[in-house]
């Protein structure tokens, strides 16, 4: 490893970690209920409960989800060789949501039949497994159908992803009719992308899956660099292209699946964060992937704090997915115009 890059990696990681710490501190300090950090740390109730049982777990949850989505986004952009790729837009989040919903609905059906399998099937691990499977299958479908004449066409893959999302939305709407109204309401809220209050066990499980997937992507980052070249070139440089691609696919899907299981369909994080990170550390994935992971965590922690705080005067709280979509939708369009303008200029 060259000294210059090591130094840049250290700077990138330090900046990312600093952003995450600052965002976490802000999010932990602010909320609907004014608390004193001093009394919370001193164990005074209710401040201590609010800080340790509610805000900090929620910060952790947002950080895990943001880290997963941003890293998956950066990896998918490399695979598709297009900056517009993103788990949400590509339909990977949609596939995860569908997988998770199928498990949830099946659990309700099992519980209705009086089977003892209903409760465990509706628990976090099996929903997460369904989400990861759904994400993997949809990645496979989107990238498979995005091939025209044997070549991956980014625009085609994006279009397939968008159509796949609409398809998923329709199927989930139909599935909602199969579950009790209250469950359906919960499903809706989950699907909009809400970082709520999860139990410690669920958090640990999510952190483990996301940690493994992100670690795998970071470990593969040198090869991911080569994947952004044409397949023939990458192969000539000694990369087993199909195998590397499959591994990256699966790791990105697992990260997305876990993120969706924890926080629902939070969109555009994988678009905004890698783009900003690329501005800061450049296109080298050995820097970009770890930086995206940290900045993604910081970004979603901040976005969740914004969601919690912005609507306080109205006495209610929107899901964080609404905030990221509010920022991300226009950002996507801006990025699309810019990409087009560049391609037009290079033609």
């Amino acid at each position: 490893m060259s000294g210059a890059r090591t130094a840049r990696l250290a700077v990138a990681l330090a900046a990312g970690a600093a952003a995450l710490v600052a965002a976490s501190a802000l999010s932990a300090a602010l909320g609907a209920q004014p608390i004193s950090l001093r009394s919370a740390l001193g164990g005074v109730e209710p401040d201590a409960t609010i800080l340790f049982s509610l805000r900090l777990p929620r910060v952790a949850l947002a950080a895990i989800v943001g880290c997963a989505l941003a890293t998956a986004g950066a990896a998918l952009q490399a695979l598709l060789r297009n900056p517009l790729a993103e788990p949400f837009i590509l339909g990977v989040s949609g596939g995860a949501a569908l997988g998770g919903s199928i498990v949830l609905v099946a659990a309700v059906a099992l519980a209705r039949l009086g089977g003892a399998g209903g409760a465990p099937a509706g628990a976090a691990p099996s929903v997460a497994a369904g989400a990861v499977a759904g994400a993997a299958i949809s990645t496979f479908v989107v990238f498979g159908l995005g091939r025209i004449g044997g070549r991956l066409v980014p625009e085609a893959a994006l279009l397939v992803g968008i159509v796949f999302n609409s398809f998923v939305a329709g199927v989930i709407t139909l599935m909602k009719l199969l579950v009790p109204a209250e469950q359906a309401g919960r499903l809706t809220y989950w699907l909009v992308g809400a970082v709520g209050n999860e139990s410690g066990g669920t958090l640990a499980l999510g952190a483990a899956v996301v940690g493994l997937a992100v670690a795998a992507l970071v470990a593969l980052s040198a090869r991911v660099n080569l994947l952004t070249l044409a397949d023939e070139e990458a192969a000539s440089l000694g990369v087993d292209v199909p195998r590397t691609r499959a591994t990256v696919f699966f790791a990105a899907s697992a990260a997305t699946g876990a993120a969706v299981a924890l926080g629902g369909m939070v969109g555009f994080v994988g678009l905004i964060v890698p783009h900003v990170a690329r501005r800061l550390v450049g296109p080298d994935h050995r820097l970009l992937l770890p930086a995206s992971a940290l900045f993604g965590a910081a970004f979603l922690v901040l976005a969740d704090a914004a969601a919690r705080l912005a609507f306080l005067p109205l006495g209610t709280e929107p899901p964080v997915g609404a905030v990221t979509a509010f920022i991300g939708g226009p950002f996507f369009l801006w990025l699309l115009r810019r990409t087009e303008a560049r391609e037009g200029a290079s033609r």
Binding site: Q33, P46, L54, R55, A181, E182, R186, A194, N197, E317
Partner: protein, 306 residues
């Protein structure tokens, strides 16, 4: 080329305005009264029936309950798919509370349609009223606005008059009012308990100011801890923790009871001071709500309930 767009838009708007002019009259006629039934907030669309209606279609389960409580099950021709009273199990369904199906209503050839005004169903009910006017046997729609407990208590009289059963309506109204006053009297001298009324846990949705539970809690010698302006806010859990209610009422009846553990950060939940409701009577603004009131009182004041 560029000026065609605005022109086409103008034509489109003009056309739309032309077609919209006719239903606009019906819309005015059906505009919700804007005040509760207790203050005269009900309106007739179409002629009031000259003879006692025999084929009544009810578009709200709480009104079905009113008709049933008056002992007039035989007058009903159709109810919503949300109606779960055993007496109406065999009746045809005409859609939901928010999405009544005009076709199904017309298909039952009713002689009266009862409706609780609600924005969600306004378009469909307007359509029903139009179709009624255009048909050979027009039927009236009675729209009743029910926002408060006083409206709930006033509704039996209005429905009784509509069904030409004024005495039964009067009797039911009196009975419901006596039940409410009975509960209110028994709370005298009891401690006021501070309550968080939970209707959804994920996200946490609670009853706030202006909701029925807030009013019902006050009658039961309790008070809601929720402040603000929204009747059903998505409530930050940390506020619930800081509010530190004496009791949490778990009205998320569709969800498994043990799901309340998700809210264990609230001290009352940790202590086990949770009243789990057995059904959603308390948010059914009709006779069931009054029945639920008695149960709520017993649950909140076990020391006084005999």
């Amino acid at each position: 080329m560029w000026n065609v767009g605005p022109l086409a838009a103008c034509v489109a708007i003009a056309t739309a305005a032309g077609t919209a002019a006719a239903p606009a009259r019906a819309a005015d006629e059906l505009r919700p009264p804007g005040k509760g039934a207790a203050r005269g907030g009900f309106l007739w669309v179409g002629e009031r029936p000259a003879a006692a209606p025999r084929r009544v279609v009810v578009l709200a389960p709480s009104l079905t309950d009113v008709v049933l409580a008056m002992g007039l099950r035989d007058r009903l021709a159709g109810v919503t798919r949300l109606d779960d009273a055993p007496e109406v199990a065999g009746l045809p369904r005409v859609g939901g509370f928010l999405d009544p199906n005009p076709e199904a209503v017309l298909g039952l050839s009713p002689d009266l349609v009862l409706w609780v005004t609600d924005g969600g169903a306004l378009a469909a009910v307007r359509r029903i009223a139009e179709l009624s006017r255009a048909s050979r046997r027009p039927f009236p729609v009675l729209a009743i606005e029910i926002d408060t407990l006083a409206d709930v208590l006033a509704t039996p009289r209005i429905v009784g008059d509509a069904l030409h059963e004024g005495e039964r309506g009067e009797a039911l109204a009196r009975k419901l009012r006596d039940d409410v006053e009975g509960v209110r009297r028994r709370t005298a001298g009891l401690p006021r308990r501070r309550v968080l009324f939970v209707v959804g846990r994920e996200p946490l949705v609670v009853a706030g100011p202006g909701s029925f539970p807030e009013e019902l809690l006050a009658i039961c010698g309790a008070e809601s801890v929720v402040r603000g302006e929204r009747p059903w806010p998505v409530y930050p859990l940390e506020k619930a923790v800081a509010d530190d209610p004496d009791v949490v009422v778990d009205a998320a009846v569709q969800e498994p009871a043990d799901g309340i553990r998700r809210l264990a950060a609230i001290p009352a939940v940790r202590r086990g001071d949770v009243v789990r409701l057995r059904n959603d009577d308390l948010i059914r603004p009709g006779p069931r709500m009054i029945r639920g009131l008695e149960e709520l009182f017993r649950a909140l004041h076990p020391e006084a309930a005999r």
